[in-house]
Symmetry: C2
Subunit: 213 residues, 2 copies
């Protein structure tokens, strides 16, 4: 009991310091971009100091890299929880689309980081080899479902899984990424909870409609 209390009161806690820096840095980089994020600002929003960024990560760039890796790891880990083997192909595709939909909505910081990384021509991403495996496994899942659908004579047989993944991603991505310009130009909030179910259904209709023979 005193132990637990002692842990909670520790003044020095490397893991907590690291995690705290990553959490704040994720928000900062997502919100301000790579060059827009301020090292001083990140430090100021933690219980620790700027010195620790250099102590634990080495510098601004390595901190950004660590943020990127963790963000992708988290989102793919969540995707693997989708259990679609017991569903019929049409329902399974719809389910996968919904998981992606929910995920994008729940992780706006991740979406922004993807935008930030693309703005830099994905030059940092190439340094994180592990990400490739993480992502391809997500597409494998979809590929299996499509194959089942073709076997059952439900789906077209000339469709590429990666294309379908892109179709789903683009819809989900846009809704979150372009929320603000869309709101300004058309006076419609794409993330309005009132319209959430509508868009979720729309995505499912869109994808299954495209796949159906």
């Amino acid at each position: 009991m005193t132990q637990e209390k002692a842990v909670a009161e520790r003044q020095r806690d490397p893991e907590r310091t690291r995690t705290e820096l990553l959490d704040v840095a994720t928000e900062e980089f997502a919100e301000n971009g790579y060059s827009g994020a301020r090292v001083d600002e990140i430090a100021a929003r933690t219980r620790t100091t700027k010195r620790m960024i250099y102590y634990y990560f080495g510098g601004k760039e390595q901190l950004y890299l660590a943020v990127l890796e963790r963000a992708y790891s988290e989102i793919r880990a969540a995707e693997r929880t989708a259990d679609v083997d017991h569903l019929d192909p049409v329902a399974a595709v719809r389910r996968l689309a919904e998981v992606t939909f929910d995920h994008h909505e729940a992780h706006p910081a991740f979406i922004k980081l993807v935008g930030v990384e693309n703005a830099q021509h994905a030059k940092h991403m190439n340094h994180v080899a592990r990400l490739v495996d993480l992502n391809s496994s997500a597409v494998d899942l979809l590929r299996g479902v499509l194959a089942r659908g073709v076997d059952d004579g439900l789906f077209r047989d000339d469709v590429d899984a990666l294309d379908v993944h892109m179709m789903i991603s683009s819809f989900c991505f846009f809704r979150v990424a372009n929320r603000h310009t869309w709101g300004a130009l058309f006076d419609r909030d794409l993330l309005d909870p009132e319209r959430r179910e509508h868009y979720r259904t729309m995505l499912g209709d869109l994808v299954t409609g495209y796949l159906r023979k």
Copy 2:
């Protein structure tokens, strides 16, 4: 004749200086974001000096605003050239989707600016009131086509034009905006000319498939 030569050799040419600054600034802001773009760098890439940015525009922010306004004006002007009244509804929708598709592909800098503006919660866009009119007219065009399709008994009657516009935009936007991360993660270049026709057709199938009764 000497007049023409004189014009070409003018050392002082306000319009050319302004245009040149806008052109370079568009590239710089698109490539590096608002805070990432450097006023010195923009000036260095023109025949003029940094001083002129402050002389003609007032500052970095006003220059960015001018860039944004011009970029949107151009893209919407091009959209208005799509003549779809003589096409049947299905072909017309496909045609509109293709115009958007072509446009996104031809103007990567515009796509990036949209991303930059969203990163800033579209706070600058609100200062350019004219943009709202420009954009809503593009949707009006689509709305008309959809209404014709419904009248002809070809399309579902429960579809919102703005939703369809979003569907089209998201596909086109994603393909250009996320080109780099997609390439890094799945080793597929979404802008590969070899696959261009495939994606263009896919978009048309997707949209008309969704609309069809």
